[in-house]
Every structure is written in C-alpha cells, then in structure tokens.
Amino acid sequence: MNRAVGSTLRAEMNKLGQNSIDLRQSIEIVQHIIQILQTIHKKQVFHQNLSPDHIIIDRNSVLNPSFRQAPIVLISFSQAQTKQDEVSDNDEAEQSKFWYNARQKNDLQYRATIDASCVCAILLWLMTGIQPSANDSNPFHEQNGVHEKIESIAKASSKFQS
C-alpha cells in the first residue's frame, strides 16, 4: 500500500492561515471530497469520520494548483461502516472518536447521509476556522459566533463579484 502524498487539510490550512481561502476555494475542496465519497458510497462503504486530519491534500504536485486540481486522498477508515453494520453505542467514549458527531448517527436509515453532513462541517470549518462543538444541543451553524461569521462571509462573497 502506498503512503498518501501531501499534508493533512488541517496542516495545509495552518500553513496558509485560516482566512486565506475564499468561499469558492472552500467549495472547490469539498466538491472534490464529495466526488471521492460518491465513489466509495457506490461500493456501499461509508467513511463516517471525515475531518481535516483525515483528508490528505497535495498542493505540490502541480505548479500553482487550484484547490480543484490538487489531488485529495481520504484516510482513516477505522470508523467506516457498510450498509449492513449495526449502529454503534452512543456513549461518550464512542463520541470522542469523531471530529463531528452527526445528529442522525443513531438512525440506521440515514447512515448514508452522515458523510454529507461531515462534508458540510468541513466546509464550515474552512470558512470560519471554527471546530464543531461536542455539545450538539444547538446545530453547529447556529452556535454562538458561527452564524454571524457565515453571514459576513456570504456578504463578502457577493460584494467581491459586484
């Protein structure tokens, strides 16, 4: 098995500085991740634990690569599940294994949607630099400070193009 080339998405963002990429670049990254997920979902495998540490991006492979072009590899499938696997226990020890705990994680029929929710958590992290909170009584995007940041980024994106 070959080692994935590049650095984690977290390391890459630390190197660049959190606010150095705009909304379009954030979307380019997650769109690329979605394409990879669609391939593994076709094989009925669901990652279930996407995080900035489980995404390897190689921006050195092409000259001045856009995020669309940079190769991405997903790693760490230790929490991956198939369609037939049973739902895991929801205790604290189990929760701590996940960067983002999707609210629907205990509902078997929505297993396939957990990766999509994780992708959005990564998008939100790319946009704001804010980690998903362990306390999920309030949805991630409605937590203190997050909503305001989203609004200001949305406004900034519109102004940029006008």
């Binding site: 909304l23 379009r24 979307i27 380019e28 997650v30 769109q31 979605i34 394409q35 997920l37 669609q38 979902h41 076709k42 999707a102 609210r103 629907q104 509902d107 929505y110 396939a112 949607t113 990766d115 999509a116 929710s117 992708v119 959005c120 958590a121 998008l123 939100l124 949805p139 991630f140 995007h141 409605e142 909503h147 989203i150 609004e151 980024i153 949305a154 994106s157 519109s158 940029f160 193009q161 006008s162």
Partner: protein
C-alpha cells in the same frame, strides 16, 4: 440565505431533510455559480437562451449510456420507459382525451447515486373540462419510480403524487420478473392510475371543505 439553508439540512436533523451527496453537490455548485463571474455574465442572457441547449439533449440516450447501453439494467429501463409511455397514451385515449400528459417520453433520472437501480420520472397529468366560460384545467404532478433488484432480475414500478402534504404511492407492478414485467402493463397502469386519481380527489376535497 443559500449557505444557512444548506447548513440547516446538514446539521438540523430531525427538523430538516438531510442531504444526499448528489443533492449537496448540486447545491454547492449553485452557490459556486452564484458567487462566480460566470453567473454574473449570464444575468444579461434571456432565460430562454439559458435553456436552449437542454432541448438538444437526448436524455434517454444519456441514461442509456450511463446505465450501460447493453447492460441488463439499461435495457430494463428502456423497456419500462416505453411501457409507461404506451400506457400513458392508452389511458388518455381511454378517457376520451380529457387527460393530457405534459411530457410524452418517460425520461429516467437516477436517484441511486449512479447505480441506476432506482430511478424517477416526473410528469404532469392535466384534466380538462369544457365549461360555459371556457376550458377549465387541473394539473396533477405524478412521478413514476422504478426499482430494479441488485441482481437485475426483479422490477417494481410505482406511481406517486402529493396532496395536502401527504404522499400517495400506488404500485403498478411489484417485484415482477424482468423478462415479462411489461405483460398486461397497460391494463395494470390504467387500473392503478384511476385509484391514484380517486384518492387524490377525495383527499383534495376533504381539505377544500
């Protein structure tokens, strides 16, 4: 607005319907287009010109190619589409042409993330009646769903509509052998669509009282 709504569906279970990867991909593409220059340029185009290219697409051909033209699944989809088209026309003719389908050809949209074993085709069935002040019409959105078993041996086809926030689903055929699922299809279709319309009508009238 787009972003908050996107995140509502991502993190708002159970209050919001969850994203599938395909739907999320489309939403993110929309946002990307919106904030990109290409969308700004297209603002000066007419809506018609934006859609011109769609008319040139042979959708069925695209599905056949994607599903595998010669594959069992591709051929099942094609036979199912033809059977539904013929049944639609038989029904309209049966009802003295008081019903009209908005789309003649059944065109499948894959909803199984590229597997083509679960597809959907939407249509509008319009009922018309000649009244003293002119023709009165009532449209009903009807969707056809096809489900093909993993081994491509069994086919189920369902029709569905929504009324008063409720979904009405009526099976036309259920787990029929793929070799002969179109036998007597017209008859089955006509029987089931009458049931669908009957349920729709009763439910609609309940709400209107």
């Amino acid at each position: 607005m787009y972003l908050m709504n996107t995140f509502d569906r991502s993190f708002g279970y159970p209050d919001y319907p969850l994203w599938t990867l395909s739907d999320l991909q489309l939403r993110l593409e929309s946002i990307y287009e919106f904030v990109s220059l290409s969308f700004r340029r297209s603002e000066n185009q007419s809506y018609a010109s934006l859609l011109d290219k769609i008319l040139d697409i042979d959708r069925q051909e695209a599905i056949r190619s994607a599903a595998g033209r010669e594959s069992e699944r591709g051929m099942i989809l094609e036979r199912a589409a033809e059977a539904i088209d013929q049944a639609k026309q038989a029904f309209a003719h049966h009802e003295a042409n008081r019903f009209h389908w908005s789309i003649d050809r059944c065109e499948w949209v894959d909803i199984s993330n590229g597997l083509f074993n679960h597809c959907r085709s939407d249509n509008i069935l319009t009922f018309s009646k000649l009244a003293s002040k002119g023709t009165r019409s009532f449209p009903i959105i009807i969707s056809f769903m096809i489900k093909i078993s993993d081994d491509d041996q069994q086919v189920s086809i369902t029709m569905m509509t929504s009324v008063n926030g409720k979904e009405v689903q009526i099976p036309i055929i259920y787990r029929e052998d793929q070799k002969n699922f179109i036998e007597n299809f017209n008859e089955k279709f006509i029987n089931e669509i009458k049931l669908l319309i009957s349920i729709f009508s009763k439910e609609y009238q309940i709400r209107s009282k």
